[in-house]
């Protein structure tokens, strides 16, 4: 370890409720960043709106606190303008899978080299406990006036279908395992999803630590032979079938760990380099735009398809 994880703390008051799963995630992030020796100046944490999206204020790297549901577009813009930055998105289940679902799917299609950490507590905490998109149907958490009569979405399956190349699930109270998974996600070249299951002691009185701990299992413990790696594009669908077959048999069990690591696909940045050679060397955030205020081009020398010698 090169840096001490304490260096990644800020002096801001952490305003989460006592016992909140976000504390576990925050600690795992500090340690993962320290062990990866991330330069605070070249690391950007981007969040949406919600309890978990306050996290950028608590991490001593650059932070961008955006709008509800919109961290992915902003993070994508940052990464594409300067691919040398390490960009990590923190977003809640309402943020990512409710209002921001279109962006969540689109990121998978692009495979931008970003890490998305989903703080999943199945409720909207900051607005006092409405049902989140991952709250199972007919669960009635304490703020609900009626049981939840909408079905839940399954982010791992959506990520598999959308094209994410690193997909993992973790549990907020297992900080050490979580840290290792976050490190792998950040090291992975491409779009990574880490879904972190996170009890909300204030509003989710159904999905308690006990509830989770009765259901979770680690895939590398239960299936030591399971290899999440996909090396060629044609292997991906078979790997998805294996994941469904092995880990989704019992609806009362929740698989944790690295479920997929697909190294067969180009990142979006590599694809851009193919259509704009030189992009990685001179990305949009770094390339010169002018010569002391003078344009770098002459229109008549560039836009030749519009020339007419009258």
């Amino acid at each position: 370890m090169v840096r001490n994880w304490i260096e990644y703390r800020t002096d801001a008051w952490v305003q989460w409720c006592p016992g909140c799963g976000n504390f576990g995630i925050l600690t795992a992030v500090y340690k993962a960043f320290a062990e990866l020796d991330l330069d605070p100046k070249e690391t950007v944490v981007v969040s949406g709106i919600g309890c978990s999206s306050r996290i950028p204020y608590y991490i001593n790297v650059s932070g961008v606190h955006t709008l509800h549901g919109r961290p992915i577009p902003v993070a994508t813009g940052i990464k594409l303008a300067n691919p040398r930055l390490t960009v990590v998105v923190h977003s809640g289940d309402g943020d990512l899978l409710g209002i921001g679902m279109a962006h969540f799917v689109a990121l998978g299609r692009r495979n931008v080299d970003l890490t998305v950490i989903l703080h999943d507590n199945a409720v909207y905490g900051l607005t006092k406990g409405q049902a989140g998109p991952t709250l199972p149907a007919w669960f009635r958490t304490k703020a609900l006036r009626a049981p939840n009569y909408q079905d839940a979405v399954e982010p791992v399956l959506i990520a598999l279908a959308s094209g994410y190349t690193f997909i993992a699930r973790a549990y907020a109270y297992h900080a050490e395992r979580l840290k290792e998974i976050i490190k792998e996600a950040i090291k992975h070249k491409g779009s990574s999803l880490v879904q972190v299951l996170q009890p909300c002691p204030t509003y989710n009185n159904v999905m308690t630590p006990k509830w989770y701990e009765e259901r979770i299992f680690y895939v590398d413990e239960k299936y030591p032979d399971y290899d999440p790696t996909v090396k060629a594009p044609e292997e991906r669908d078979r790997k998805i079938a294996e994941i469904l077959d092995k880990f989704y048999k019992d609806p009362n069990k929740i698989p944790l760990g690295i479920l997929l690591r697909d190294v067969s696909k180009d990142t979006f940045e590599e694809r851009i380099e193919k259509i704009i050679p030189g992009y990685l060397k001179n990305p949009p955030g770094l390339r010169p735009t002018d010569l002391d205020g003078k344009s770098l081009i002459k229109p008549e020398e560039v836009f030749r398809d519009r020339l007419v010698k009258a």
Binding site: S62, G63, V64, P73, G77, N82, T289, S295, F303, V308
Partner: protein, 643 residues
């Protein structure tokens, strides 16, 4: 038309997908080759194929900048065009149509809108005429218009025979036959149209050949059956290197020349073509000096198609935070989606240009039709107190330079800049001299590429603008929440006021640093009693109407508002003080410019000429509108010319 001054109007109409766009492109190049200045605009339905579409163009030996009705020449490639445009040719003008359509009954034309059918049939039946193309042609002839029936099918057969191809494979040159017939009658030598075909279809020999054969065949036909027009005098632009651009092209060119490095968009009419044109030039050759001094062999511009407009503006904002010079391009519906992010860009102090290609609303409205209906949403976009800059371009050349100015202002003042353009600009072709980007210096404001020690992204400064280091240059916090100088969230009332007042000082800085002279243009006799106030692409038709009014002895001046925020308050007050009759002109029903003027300088514009059919503004509409107001004192004249 006098011999020395050429001023020629021409419409070519036919089904969408029937080569109207190509015909327009070829016609513009033909008339440029003849040495004229050319302006042409296309009207079309929101449809892929079959619905009526037409191109109206004007060539002048001095400057062409608007279209008018009626025109001198009309080419109707199908029956619907005959019925649609039977009143659009002036006395002694030419009406060229496909004689093979003579027997077609109006009710057999499936794509033709029913209300138009009813209006045409009523008109013809009142004159004792039937409902076929031949009846419509009789009506056209009764108005002293010269009708020329061209047997397009026969000429296609002849073209096929001469090029050794099948009739089916040359069917697409029907548009060229129509165009060639008109040019033969007008007195344009055929080498100009042949040159235009070679230019427009450059590299596509298989397309060029039948088109050129069609031109020869048609000129012979006109010569043998009618009479070739006396050659018109050549225009003054002959021999000059020029460009032919539509509004979408020229904005893309301005942005690339102006140092844009990244643009986002979600497909929408009429904005998408701007992004597509730009993407075609994603890698370009810089000038020699740049190669040498910057070591750049190529310049890359990243254009990203996003999943929606929210993502388009979000990605652009993210890229700007990381140091890119950015824009996003959209139209009204897309801009509605972007609004929450406009507000975020204000509080995050992000330099971003939003180009809005206005079209006819509300809602989906008429996607391919014109409107100036997004001024209010631009001025008031974004919740909370959200200062921004709003500018509007009046023509193709202005749009080029405004695109650079918009990027400059965004970076200088670190706030969203909304650049208003419209469908009339996007869909019109114009001959221009190659624009010179060195006329506008590229400015990036207080951009830092290096920071030593502690950095406050939102440092409180006298001018309200903080030095801006991109992500990666300095560690920083950027928040959509109210924040302190470091970007850390705060709800402290004292800090809140300090930061909000910093924003107010930024508005004052904008008012100070964008000189009044860049906010408006004043045309015509400054002592004229009649003042026209307008904005955007009404500029061309207004200037042309002014020429016509001055020939009637009516002196008019024209105040073009070029930026609504900051507003040219002083200059407009002066112009209004020095005028007796004040007339506003705009393409919306709410009189949005009038509302902004009242709000900003507390003065009313007492007379208005408005249009909201979704069609282009025409010269004659302004001419007759001004006359009506001068004669009758009308409060409002609603104009609605054009099919």
């Amino acid at each position: 038309m006098s011999q020395d001054r050429v001023d020629l109007g021409l419409i070519i109409g036919g089904p969408q997908g029937g080569g109207i766009e190509s015909a327009g492109q070829i016609a513009v190049r033909t008339l440029m080759s003849k040495g004229y200045d050319v302006y042409g605009t296309r009207e079309y339905h929101s449809n892929i194929t079959g619905a009526h579409s037409y191109f109206n163009l004007r060539a002048r030996s001095d400057i062409a900048r608007s279209v008018r009705l009626p025109v001198d020449f009309l080419i109707a490639l199908d029956a619907e065009s005959v019925f649609t445009h039977m009143d659009d040719v002036k006395e002694n003008g030419f009406f060229v149509y496909d004689s093979g359509t003579s027997g077609t009954k109006i009710d057999k034309i499936a794509p033709m809108p029913k209300p138009l059918k009813v209006r045409v049939k009523d008109k013809l039946s009142k004159l004792g005429l039937g409902d076929t193309v031949a009846d419509a042609i009789k009506y056209v002839e009764s108005k002293n218009v010269k009708v020329v029936g061209v047997p397009i099918k026969e000429l296609l057969k002849e073209t096929a025979k001469r090029s050794g191809l099948s009739v089916v494979s040359v069917a697409r040159v029907a548009n060229t036959i129509g165009l060639a017939a008109a040019f033969a009658l007008i007195g344009i030598e055929k080498e100009h149209i042949e040159k235009a075909i070679n230019l427009y279809f450059a590299g596509k020999e298989k397309v060029i050949k039948p088109n050129v054969v069609a031109v020869e065949t048609t000129y012979e036909y006109i010569k043998d059956n009618f009479k070739l027009g006396n050659p018109l005098p050549n225009g003054p632009y002959q021999g000059r290197l020029r460009m032919v651009v539509n509004g979408n092209d020229v904005v893309a060119m301005g942005k690339i020349a102006g140092g844009l490095t990244l643009q986002t968009y979600y497909p929408i009419t009429p904005a998408a073509d701007e992004a597509l044109y730009m993407e075609g030039y994603r890698v370009v050759e810089p000038i020699e000096e740049a190669k040498k001094r910057l070591g750049l062999d190529k310049i890359g511009t990243l254009v990203i198609q996003t999943e929606d407009e929210i993502s388009a503006i979000g990605m652009a904002i993210g890229a700007a935070l990381a140091g890119a010079r950015v824009a996003t391009t959209t139209s009204g519906p897309g801009f509605s989606l972007m609004n929450e992010m406009v507000s975020m860009a204000v509080i995050m102090e992000v330099p971003i240009v939003i180009t809005i290609w206005q079209r006819a609303g509300p809602s989906t409205g008429m996607a391919t039709r014109n409107g100036q209906q997004d001024l209010l949403i631009s001025m008031f976009s974004g919740h909370g107190d959200t200062p921004k800059i709003v500018l509007a371009s009046g023509d193709h050349e202005e749009a080029f330079y405004d695109s650079i100015r918009a990027l400059n202002w965004a970076e200088k003042f670190q706030t969203p800049v909304i650049h208003l353009v419209d469908k009339m600009l996007s869909g019109s072709l114009k001959s221009i001299d190659p624009p010179d980007p060195t006329k506008v210096k590229i400015e990036r404001g207080k951009l830092l590429r290096k920071v030593d020690g502690e950095y406050k992204r939102f440092l409180i400064t006298d001018d309200g603008i903080s030095p801006r280091a991109p992500l990666g240059v300095a560690k920083q916090m950027i928040s959509s929440l109210v924040h302190d100088e470091y970007g850390m969230v705060t709800e402290d009332p004292v800090l809140r006021n300090q930061m909000t007042e910093k924003m107010l000082r930024k508005i004052e800085t904008i008012e100070k640093e964008i000189p009044e002279s860049e906010r408006y243009s004043l045309y015509g006799d400054p002592d004229a009693d009649v003042l026209l106030i307008s904005w955007g692409t009404n500029k061309g038709p207004i200037l042309d109407a002014m020429e016509r009014l001055s020939r009637d002895g009516i002196k008019v001046k024209f105040f073009q508002i070029r930026t609504f925020k900051p507003f040219p308050a002083k200059a407009l007050n002066e112009a209004m003080d020095n005028s007796k009759v004040i007339i506003g002109i705009e393409s919306n029903i709410l009189e949005q410019m009038r509302l902004i003027t009242r709000m900003t300088i507390l003065r009313d514009i007492p007379h208005m000429i408005v249009k909201y059919t979704g069609r282009t503004m025409y010269e004659q509409e302004i001419y007759f509108g001004v006359k009506e107001i001068l004669e009758k004192g009308s409060r409002k004249v609603v104009v609605s010319d054009g099919a």
